[in-house]
């Protein structure tokens, strides 16, 4: 089979192919003319078709990773990323490329009316080519998604561990979400750093926002408390809910060496006591004076 010849036919019939392709796309129910105008669609399609026909003009129909196909892959990547941003679904994006298949084979069918065997082989070849192109759009689409996920997890880990100075010498660290090894590392680092920076002697770890405390989480908490003690500060764990207390007991985790409280408020009260601070209502008389 003369592949060169096939490429020549396609190149010659470029305009027919483009017309057919546009017709297919416009007839498709999944056409999103709300997201992309018909002129833009036509411009994109023409650009892609031009570069594709250029790439196959030397008879390379199967290796889409060769240098001839670089512009095709670039254009395709651009299209699928911009479309993903515009809100196209992955189905619509691959439909766009797959609809080209029909347009290409229609043209060949016309030319090879009397040579069914040749036509068959050409169609198989084109099928493979368009399929691998559609895989590229899918890969690019996923890559775009993956980047979003990576960025979000970065953002989450950044905002999730604030160390708050609630009083002179008292730090509070509300932990929200699951405590895994990497989170514990971040928590421990920022807590120890903050103890040095502020010269605090008491740290309150609040676990109200931790959904489940299993032995691994408990082990991480114990490690954090030990590290804090090594720095000469005392650690109080607060926010132990009733159901979590029962679970910890059944699991057999020994937290008796650690000061624990049910709420952040009682932990703060304990911390005040440890620093010999007193909080009381101000004198009634002076308040009335103040308002006069």
């Amino acid at each position: 089979m003369n592949i060169q010849q096939t490429a020549q036919i396609l190149l010659r019939k470029k305009n027919t192919i483009l017309e057919n392709w546009m017709k297919n796309q416009l007839a498709d129910a999944s056409l999103r003319d709300d997201l992309l105008s018909n002129e833009d669609l036509r411009r994109q399609s023409e650009e892609l078709l031009n570069s594709l026909l250029q790439a196959v003009s030397h008879g390379n129909f199967d290796n889409i990773y060769s240098s001839e196909f670089e512009p095709v892959n670039d254009i395709l990547g651009d299209i699928s990323i911009t479309r993903a941003r515009q809100g196209f679904s992955p189905r619509e994006i691959s439909q766009y490329v797959l609809s080209l298949k029909q347009a290409l084979t229609d043209v060949l069918e016309e030319e090879r009316r009397n040579e069914p065997e040749l036509l068959y082989r050409e169609v198989v070849l084109l099928n493979k080519l368009v399929d691998s192109l559609s895989i590229i759009t899918f890969e690019t689409y996923l890559k775009g998604r993956e980047e979003v996920i990576l960025r979000q997890s970065d953002e989450i880990s950044e905002i999730s561990t604030p160390v708050i100075r609630v009083w002179d010498g008292i730090l509070a660290l509300p932990i929200i979400g699951t405590l895994d090894s990497s989170r514990t590392q971040v928590v421990m680092e920022s807590l120890l750093q903050e103890i040095v920076n502020t010269g605090s002697s008491i740290a309150i770890l609040d676990i109200s926002g931790v959904p489940a405390v299993d032995s691994l989480v408990a082990q991480h908490l114990i490690k954090t408390v030990s590290a804090t003690r090594l720095m000469g500060a005392e650690c109080i764990i607060s926010g132990i809910r009733a159901e979590i207390a029962q679970t910890i007991v059944h699991l057999g985790i020994d937290l008796s060496n650690i000061r624990t409280k049910a709420t952040l408020a009682s932990a703060l009260q304990l911390a005040f006591g440890m620093l010999s601070l007193e909080v009381r209502k101000s004198n009634q008389v002076s308040t009335t004076k103040l308002f006069k």
Partner: protein, 137 residues
């Protein structure tokens, strides 16, 4: 005992633990389990799933809503194809661990749920089945 619903979750990465726990919570809420029992079941499930990840590089969990004598419960079956456990009585002891952890996962999980069963063959894998009833008895 009859099984009312059944589905399977593959656990291969640490990131699968949170969606799995949420799925267990969903089932437990659906059958009206109290918060304390929910937390016990979820914690036990969390221990077992972590074991699976740590010692067998993951596996699968079969989640079922079961019913016996008119009482609903959750049955979880943790199936892995890891190295297996050589000495089960030893592994069930408090404080025994081959992995530098607290060694409370297996015995703790057993104390947290109503029914606990472990089967293991060296070099073939381990299957742990737990059942927790709606009212925790």
């Amino acid at each position: 005992m009859i099984s009312l619903t059944k589905d399977t979750m593959q656990i291969v990465r640490e990131q699968d633990v949170v969606p799995f726990r949420n799925r267990v919570r969903e089932l437990a809420t659906k059958i009206g389990m109290s918060l304390v029992n929910q937390t016990k079941l979820i914690t036990a499930a969390s221990e077992l799933v972590r074991n699976m990840l740590k010692y067998a590089d993951g596996g699968k969990v079969v989640l079922e809503v079961v019913s016996k004598n008119g009482q609903a419960g959750i049955r979880l079956m943790f199936v892995d194809e890891g190295a297996g456990i050589e000495n089960i009585p030893q592994a069930m002891q408090d404080g025994f661990s081959t992995g530098r952890s607290l060694g409370l996962g297996l015995p703790g999980a057993k104390r947290l749920v109503n029914e606990f069963d472990i089967k293991s063959k060296v070099n073939e894998g381990t299957t742990v089945t737990i059942i927790h009833w709606k009212n925790g008895r």
